[in-house]
């Protein structure tokens, strides 16, 4: 079967599983969700009304088909707490979270690629050791602790940043960037560690291959071998790693946003969980899962297109 068709089928299967899981998860809530939301003092009418609103008074298959149909149209129903469509609430918060994630991604690549190259070039030497220790620490630091430390140092001691004041892009792009910079750094640190380790390994693997020996024996300088041949091949797998980790970046931003009190997905989701606003929680989680699946799909395809060796297979 054609690769693209097969990949598309597995994508659909995964999406179906994700949609089913989010549906099933909220059907195994112990007891009556309407009663849980309203509390024990609610009257029977109130409960019946909320049950109708949540759609849980209807047969399960009917509910499931509705959920599938809604998910396909990105219509996740109404938030119980805010009485607004879930999609609109998510849309309002989306710019904050996505710009935080993209900024963190930019920082990751800008820092990790030079560090990875430096580590591979100085393999076994002091610089390599230092970078290796740095990546181990980067992987172990909880991003929210990193965030607190950044607030402490740059916000409270040095006073370079005013902490916990988010400025929207439309108002003042410079201040918006400034309000997102510290959280983006906190978010980027573990990602940088992952990419550096990965890039170092692939670079060293590539340097042992025949084409490198050929290039060297025809008299090319080390750095031109590295930058013209090796790096190009080593960056491909790095794209995959970055893509796969985009989900972790989004999930990580849920926590880091809370540290910096940014009005993004994180606070909306945490509030929704606290309020037992099931439609909102369900919609947000499904949407994030959709984004993760879509990004992985695109990365996988672009990888195939960029690398002629794989394309031919």
């Amino acid at each position: 079967m054609n690769y693209f068709v097969r990949r598309l089928l597995t994508l659909l299967l995964t999406v179906f599983f994700v949609v089913t899981l989010t549906f099933a998860a909220f059907r195994i809530i112990p007891g009556n969700p309407a009663l849980t939301i309203l509390g024990t003092e609610a009257s029977d009418e109130q409960i019946a009304l909320l049950e109708a609103k949540l759609g849980i008074n209807r047969p399960l298959p009917e509910q499931f088909i509705d959920w599938l149909r809604g998910a396909a149209a990105l219509d996740f129903g109404q938030s119980l707490r805010f009485s607004e469509p879930v999609l609109k609430l998510i849309g309002d918060r989306f710019p904050v979270t996505i710009s935080l994630a993209l900024l963190a991604l930019t920082i990751t690549i800008a820092v990790a690629v030079p560090l990875g190259i430096a580590a591979a070039r100085s393999k076994g030497k002091a610089a390599d050791m230092m970078i290796s220790i740095g990546t181990q620490l980067g992987l172990a630091i909880p991003s929210f602790w990193m965030g607190i430390a950044l607030i402490l140092v740059f916000g409270l001691v040095l006073r370079w940043f005013s902490v916990s004041t988010y400025v929207p892009w439309s108002e003042n792009p410079y201040l918006a960037l400034k309000s997102l910079l510290l959280p983006a750094i906190a978010l980027a640190v573990p990602q940088i560690a992952i990419v550096v380790r990965y890039l170092r390994t692939t670079l060293l693997e590539q340097l042992n291959l025949d084409y490198v020996r050929t290039a060297r024996s025809k008299g090319l300088k080390d750095h031109s071998v590295l930058f013209r041949h090796v790096l190009r091949n080593a960056l491909l797998p790095v794209i995959t790693v970055v893509g796969i980790n985009f989900g972790e970046l989004l999930a990580g931003s849920l926590v880091v946003e809370q540290v910096f009190t940014l009005p993004g997905f994180g606070s909306l989701l945490i509030t929704a969980i606290g309020n037992r606003d099931y439609p909102l929680v369900q919609g947000m989680i499904l949407l994030i899962a959709f984004i993760v699946v879509a990004v992985n799909f695109v990365v996988d395809l672009s990888y195939r297109i960029l690398d002629p060796k794989i394309r031919m297979k």
């Binding site: 172990a140 909880p142 409270l156 999930a251």
Partner: protein, 269 residues
Amino acid sequence: MNKKASFSLLLGIAFVALLLAVMLTSLFYTPYDANEMNIAERLQAPSAKHWLGTDNFGRDVLSRIMVGAQTAFLVGLLSAVIGLVFGFIIGTAAGYTGKWLDELLMRGIDGLLAFPGILLALLLVSIFKPSMSQTILAIGVLSIPSFARVVRSGVLQQKEAEYVKAAKGLGAGHLHLIFKQILPNMISPILTTAALSFSAAILIEAALSYLGLGVQPPDPSWGRMLNEAQSFIRKAPWFTLAPGLFIMVTVLGFNLLSDGIRDLRDTRQ
């Protein structure tokens, strides 16, 4: 390579042993009662009396950190056990039988992986009430995929090996092949994954508890301590230091342990 491998392993063992010692000590000795409040001595800086200072209720931070290690280890261990048991069953079923069951189970695993780390945990805690057992269950579920994948690829590799074919030829049953022939050869990758899952569990538990959706009071948790500390960051900046440092050292220890075990296997082969 060999030297570096043993270095990570030794350092990892040292860190983990140190924390294990702290945790075990806390079972029968802490400098103060971890939950004893003393408003007169709230938010004190580290001193000879309170090595790591006191928190916003005047509780001894060192004692709370020590008892917090119990939470971290309990969550790490039990969630790894859940991940291992279910991951092993799914991975073996997929790798050993192959065909449509393999495809179905692995797509299910892909589906689980679409919920990045903490998101799956948030999904589960939003359904049930946040608590220690809930946190363990949630983190256990999200560590299933990595175990399932490692076990599956191990089984796929080993089931074609000569010695397995030989045992099969001698009339060994499926269970004998899986547990007596294949499993002993997968111990090292499983241990590597277990150590990684342990450190991931500690990070996620800390994040969940930081958000107030993980371990609930009065059970102490390093993550929740950080949340409390952040509220008093201006008055007592040093209070944010110890819980984060302990999370980091624990995660570092288990990561190094995992790397060390992997490198040990690589050098042997």
